[in-house]
Amino acid sequence: MSDKNAALVNDDIAEEIRLELYRSQYLIRVSEQRAYDLFLQNLVKGTSHLSLGQEAIAAGFGVAMQKDDKSFCTYRGHAHTLARGASVRGVIGELMQRDCGLMRGKGGSMHLTDVDNGVMGSYAIIGAHLPMAVGSAWRAQYLGQDDVTTVFFGDGTTNIGAFHEALNYAVVFKLPVVFVCENNNYMEYTPIESITAVKNPAADRASAYGLESIIIDGNDADIVYRTAQDAYKKAREGNGPSLIECKTYRHSGHSRADPGSYRPKGEVEYWKENNDPIKRYKERLAEFLIDASKVKKIESDIIKEVDEATEFAKKSPMPPESILTENVYSDGGWAWRN
């Protein structure tokens, strides 16, 4: 943090960080909207789960991470993958299941992986990646490496057994892992409060693992960023895991197939109007008197980048049949017999 910015009006976030938080959110927003458009053109096959409305969380944590930190995502993981610096071509290409995709179309939209950028995969069976993140953190502790592992998951995920096992295990061994619950109020189509014993599905359970109960406004990128920094500091200092519940809302349906009609009338509109993380953050930038032309430039650069990536992906061929049988086993092939 630069001295200049530390002194800023009751605030300690540097301008360049602020711009980076905006850039990241805006990139996610434009990419997800593009993904949505590509569905409509039937260019995204299979399913797809967007983070529209939840951008501040991926961005806040992403910006707070160090390059060598690790992250584990869900099927709703485009945002977190982009936030780590994955190429837009790679992400959009994978959604379109093209050869230029991050996994050359073999994984698809639910399994985005970009190991070079610390994205250790996206997982589509609820809960499974929480223990994996615990394992990554164990490795850091064991090998004396100072990276921290972050795992993102939804409110609905707090009711599955693996959540409980992962939290307990992480605390018992004091591992450098940060559990981030994105509470968007819905588990698919079912309101989370109707199937959860407590009001705050993650935070109200923190005490069951001896952890502090942390609830934040997940639509304020500054708050997310600061909270992330605190958790990473704690983890890097050897003080173990954190569990953070971020309140947010998704603008689109649960997945491609979902029009979202189970939501009360006006709910989506309310959130879009009054609590859109991007709108809010753009106002924040103005409040801190950040040069509007810088913001404009970020936006136009991103639109250009996403446009270019889209065109590139559209021209990219489908994956060649030759890769079908590659990488079943680590020898590169698929032979199970001689």
């Binding site: 299979g46 057994g161 698919e188 189509y189 199937i195 994956p319 049988t325 698929w334």
Partner: protein, 325 residues
């Protein structure tokens, strides 16, 4: 007879049994208010209310255990596991609990319940949402395993599964939900453990299940048309109990057997049946049994790759033609 889709037949069977028997109740994730992610249970909440049609948390172990505990004590629950891949998160309840409690208790405990689940590929959902895992279930003694291919079979076999006194794993194929077919009106119950000859033929027998059935019939029709090879197609329908009489009778007649399996190759149901037929009809077989399967690998997401991974009409056609040349 009404024309119903495969998905409508699911709801029809459940409704038929819920009207008849008040101990039947239905639980699952997003199954009530939303009618299921595959829309196979639309309308049930309206008909039977929130006491009998219940949205659960994402807690597959709790759901399976709840179904089991209720079944042991007097109900006939139906539980939906949204994608069959997720059976892995509650496999203990299938492999160690509901399948064994009747035996371990020397018959004191019974588990009359049905686990419905969306199975199979073709939707470009990738490796964790596309698997055919009916062979996992077949390997577990103590449960029954059913996988229908038509709307009529869905209705009749699901009704029979609900009335059965053993735990039944009922595999619905995701890529068949939109298919249509004639379904008998009124109360309709089929019989578990009965295979069906769905195309008569004399030169070879094809065994298939679920989505592989229409593909095998299409391949057989094309074989007839192009080459005159006349293939009998059997829809196995139920892996446990297994109708070996129907299968053996056909192979005795044709002398040649092909299995068409969507599961990855190793330890598929086709291996089991092939090992039985190769033993019992050793002297009646005119050539080796050929298994046409998904290779032993995870499923890729990309459509062009998925299409060459799961047995297609073309692959079935070409393989049978090449073998019987």
């Amino acid at each position: 007879m009404a024309q119903l889709t495969y998905r409508e037949a699911v709801a029809a069977a459940i409704a038929q049994e819920m009207y008849r028997d008040e101990t039947v109740a239905f639980i699952g994730e997003d199954v009530a208010g939303a009618g299921g992610v595959f829309k196979a249970t639309v309308g049930l909440l309206d008909k039977f209310g929130p006491k009998r049609v219940i949205d659960t948390p994402i807690s597959e172990q709790a759901m399976m255990g709840a179904a089991m505990g209720a079944a042991m004590t007097g109900m006939r629950p139906i539980v939906e596991i949204m994608f069959s891949d997720f059976l892995a998160v509650c496999w203990d309840f299938v492999a160690n609990e509901m399948s064994k409690s009747h035996y371990m208790s020397n018959g004191q405990l019974k588990c009359p319940l049905v686990v419905r689940t969306g199975n199979g590929g073709g939707s470009r959902f990738g490796a964790q949402h596309s698997q055919s895992v009916e062979n996992w279930a077949m390997a577990i003694p103590g449960i029954k395993v059913v996988a229908p291919s038509t709307p009529a079979d869905v209705k009749g076999l699901l009704a029979a599964s609900i009335r059965d006194n053993d735990p039944v794993l009922f595999f619905e194929h995701k890529s068949l939900y939109a298919t249509k077919g004639e379904v008998p009106d009124g109360e309709y119950i089929d019989t578990l453990g009965t295979a069906k000859v769905v195309r008569k033929g004399k030169d070879a027998t094809i065994l298939a299940l679920a989505m592989m059935v229409p593909r095998s019939i299409a391949a057989a029709d094309k074989l007839m048309k192009d080459t005159g090879i006349d293939v009998e197609v059997i829809d196995v329908r139920s892996l446990v109990p297994l109708d070996m009489q129907t299968i053996n009778a056909s192979v005795k007649k044709t002398g040649r057997l092909f299995t068409v399996e969507e599961n990855p190759r190793l330890c598929g149901w086709g291996a089991e049946i092939a090992s039985i037929v190769a033993d019992e009809l050793f002297w009646s077989l005119d050539g080796p049994i050929v298994r046409i399967t998904t290779p032993h690998m995870p499923l890729p997401a990309a459509d062009n790759l998925e299409d060459i991974t799961i047995p297609s009409v073309d692959r079935i056609y070409s393989k049978v033609k090449q073998v019987l040349k």
